[in-house]
Assembly symmetry: C2
Homo-oligomer: 223 residues x 2
């Protein structure tokens, strides 16, 4: 029985694509909003990769998102206002998340273990009603998932052994990394994170401790 559940957030807890596209449509009416959202998110891994590789010091995701916004806007031939970047603080939770987290919180410490900063996760948590007990993630490790330091820093902050902590994610690569760091794992598929044509992460690709249909199902499995 693990004592804490730590969660991936973008894609696992919230539908970033629909919310970002809606905000882009409002602020940049001349571009294809879904294409813009996908392009913006497409810069996410490359931007973190330079930091994970040690080619750049740690910079919070808020700042990477802003750099990426302007890079993508240029490609789309528009100028984006800086405050479009705050759209990442206002994403919509999947329908099961509020109820599921409330149930899981009754028996476990629950916290995000996201690549988002403490500031971003705090504001998103308030907006989306995610009842976190604390905020873990990239800021504590000053590095980005899937580097093991991020998972380990979360466990250390809670003064728990990794085997007492379960990583919950919709992304198999996140779970592989967490499992390699000694954590328990739970996979919850989010088959429309990338839209109706999504091909990746539709099913578990590893030996995870739990595979659940949604957070309410996970709460049932852990009760």
């Amino acid at each position: 029985m693990v004592k804490a559940l730590i969660f991936d957030v973008f894609g696992t807890c919230v539908d970033w694509r629909t919310a970002i596209a809606a905000e882009v449509a409002r602020v940049l009416p001349t571009v294809d909003p879904v294409a813009f959202a996908d392009a913006w998110r497409g810069e996410y891994q490359p931007a973190m990769e330079r930091i994970r590789d040690g080619n750049r010091g740690y910079i919070a995701l808020d700042d990477l998102h802003l750099e990426n916004l302007h890079r993508v806007a240029k490609r789309f031939g528009v100028i984006a206002p800086d405050d479009l970047n705050t759209a990442w603080e206002r994403l919509t939770p999947w329908a099961d998340v509020g109820k599921g987290l409330a149930q899981l919180k009754q028996s476990h410490i629950i916290a995000p273990c996201s690549n988002g900063s403490i500031a971003l996760m705090t504001r998103l948590g308030k907006f989306a009603g995610l009842p976190w007990d604390c905020i873990l993630g990239a800021d504590l490790a000053q590095d980005y998932k899937p580097k093991p330091a991020v998972y380990v820093a979360g466990c250390t902050a809670l003064r728990l052994d990794p085997s007492d902590v379960m990583m919950v994610a919709a992304h198999n690569d996140d779970l592989h990394a967490a499992q390699n760091a000694g954590l328990a794992t739970a996979f919850v598929a989010r088959p429309t994170e990338h839209g109706p044509e999504q091909t990746g992460d539709l099913a578990p690709t590893g030996t995870w401790d739990h595979v659940a249909g949604d957070f309410i199902d996970l709460a049932r499995q852990l009760s």
Copy 2:
């Protein structure tokens, strides 16, 4: 109008003395429980002082509490079990705190800025029903209040200017330090933190932005 409220916890949000004495009475029935609680808390500042002075590297308060427990137990002629230390995770909030924090949370980010670790504040928050948006404090700065780094690290984690953050405390020295670091300040007296004979911190000794009777009064003042 500040955007975030950060709180001292021991004494300001929770009545540590009554809860610790009750636990001591249960576990160490031969000692005077209130005297033991006061002696244990009395080791708090000296233990942190060595770290603030740079004579010892940062060690989480959980570990200092445990060292202090055994030092005090020896003085009282008893042997204390290690797990008495977890009593600090089960302290009782003052009567106004739950309702007051819930009101303040509607309009502000709320977070502890305590010398307690993320682990300790997370567990205490769950036990006492403190609805924090995130956990700030000593762990982030790897140093102890009233060192300015602790207040500044909290603001930095929220990506806010210190002038957009208000420190709430029952201790004037905490507020003096926060004010010197550029934060707004609110004083809430807790006249029985140290028992019915308390002499210190009964009234504000500085020019604080707010002086409130309790957290519900503070919410009214800030609304």
